[in-house]
């Protein structure tokens, strides 16, 4: 699914990682560990194809772009939860109905918030709107940068279940998390 060869990235005259080779199959999770500033987010951005200032090779055996959830919340404050998800689904060229969107929002405990502007929501709720994409889209690869930050316990359990479901559908997940996570087929790399 994913092969990287001799991935090296230098930022501000500091080598974040050197000669990193990763290989990941369908149905597997890659957890990227490391202290703050170790380069976890940069590695995820490289794998997602957002950051291009690196040496080495990244090859995906997937035609689709990944679902990427980063530090930035990725939803517009001036649009409602439903409008945001409709637009994000349009971007992935996936045809979804309003019922699909409402049920995805219900899965992240945002039922009743469909028409609320994201600007009027709390930080955690905005993050949940973004995470609702995991219940809506069918991209085989997920790249999740701290998906559990600002999310409550119940939400963490719900996302964990969804990740397990995705893995059993031969999906691939790459994530960073400061919380302990437990999945079958988990590989971890430590950037130190």
């Amino acid at each position: 699914m994913l092969e990287t060869q001799q991935l090296t990235c230098e930022r501000n005259h500091r080598i974040l990682f050197q000669d990193l080779s990763i290989s990941l199959n369908k149905g597997e999770v890659l957890q990227v560990d490391g202290a703050n500033g170790a380069g976890k987010s940069t590695l995820l951005r490289i794998l997602a194809g957002l950051y291009e200032d690196f040496e080495g090779e990244v090859s995906w055996q997937a035609e689709d772009y990944p679902v990427y959830i980063g530090h930035k919340v990725g939803v517009k404050d001036a649009m409602s939860a439903r409008e945001n998800l409709m637009w994000l689904a349009d971007l992935q060229a996936s045809v979804v109905s309003q019922a699909n969107i409402d049920s995805a929002l219900a899965r992240v405990s945002l039922a009743g918030y469909e028409d609320v502007l994201c600007g009027e929501m709390s930080e955690g709720q905005r993050k949940r709107v973004n995470l609702a994409r995991l219940f809506l889209l069918h991209n085989p690869v997920w790249i999740l940068d701290e998906p559990f930050s600002a999310i409550d316990k119940e939400g963490v359990a719900c996302i964990t279940d969804r990740i397990n479901e995705h893995l059993s559908d031969a999906g691939t997940v790459i994530l960073t998390s400061h919380q302990a996570v437990d999945f079958p087929n988990i590989h971890s790399i430590d950037l130190t």
């Binding site: 997602a48 194809g49 957002l50 950051y51 291009e52 200032d53 689709d64 772009y65 990944p66 990427y68 980063g70 530090h71 930035k72 919340v73 990725g74 939803v75 517009k76 404050d77 001036a78 649009m79 409008e83 637009w87 994000l88 349009d90 971007l91 992935q92 060229a93």
Partner: protein, 222 residues
């Protein structure tokens, strides 16, 4: 093609919900233009002579003001990342954003321009020429400006840099636009100027979105 329409709809919706980004440049445009008759005096001859130049420079500055924020909020809240990672061609989304941006800046200023031309005692031929010139010139300015706006996304004080980068590129449009109005006021044909403005628009329409798209990728990869 759906994504083009979806992007236009989304951006227009955002502009309607957060009108300050649109209204501020228009008010700026209005004030700059009104300052000239106040400063120079109400003599019809002088005002008539400077009308084309003043209106064009005001449009140019107002366009720059509005273009600066074109990608900024998308960059800051992370939706631009999602756009770049989408399955849709980035260029269609960029085109959609450009069209929406022109509708709420260039087109509105073009529609307002006859009113200002009257303030400067411009003849009816001249008024028509100003509106036609702006109709062809403002999309070119939005297209060129978007390159600068996309390149300076990650910078703190991008606004001034956009002006420095983009203003020199506006010179041909400015020269042709004002010359077109002068010809119209002088009673001669201005078809040639119009064709040139149209040609400039077509060239920038072909090339600028490609440059803007590349600039967005560069700005995000930092």
């Amino acid at each position: 093609m759906n994504i083009l329409l979806a992007t236009i709809r989304r951006d227009l919706l955002l502009h309607v919900r957060r009108p300050a980004d649109i209204v501020n440049p228009l008010v700026f445009f209005l004030i700059v233009i009104s300052l000239f008759p106040l400063g120079i005096g109400p003599s019809a001859g002088t005002l008539n002579e400077i009308a084309a130049g003043v209106i064009w420079v005001a449009v140019l500055l107002a366009t720059l003001l509005s273009i600066d924020v074109m990608f900024k909020s998308d960059y800051e809240d992370g939706t631009l990342e999602q756009i770049v990672l989408s399955k849709q061609p980035l260029i269609l989304v960029v085109l959609g954003k450009l069209i929406a941006q022109w509708l709420v800046s260039g087109l509105l200023m073009t529609l307002m321009s006859p009113l200002f031309a009257l303030m400067f005692f411009v003849s009816s031929d001249g008024i028509l020429a100003i509106a036609m010139a702006l109709l062809l010139g403002t999309p070119t300015m939005v297209l060129l400006g978007s390159i600068g706006a996309a390149l300076t996304l990650g910078l703190k004080n991008g606004g001034v840099l956009v002006a420095i980068l983009v203003l020199p590129l506006y010179i041909p449009v400015l020269i042709l636009g004002t010359a077109m109005v002068d010809s119209a006021v002088g009673g001669s044909s201005y078809t040639g100027h119009m064709l040139w403005l149209g040609a400039l628009l077509l060239v920038t329409m072909g090339l600028a979105p490609i440059a803007t798209q590349a600039s967005i990728r560069i700005s995000l990869s930092q």
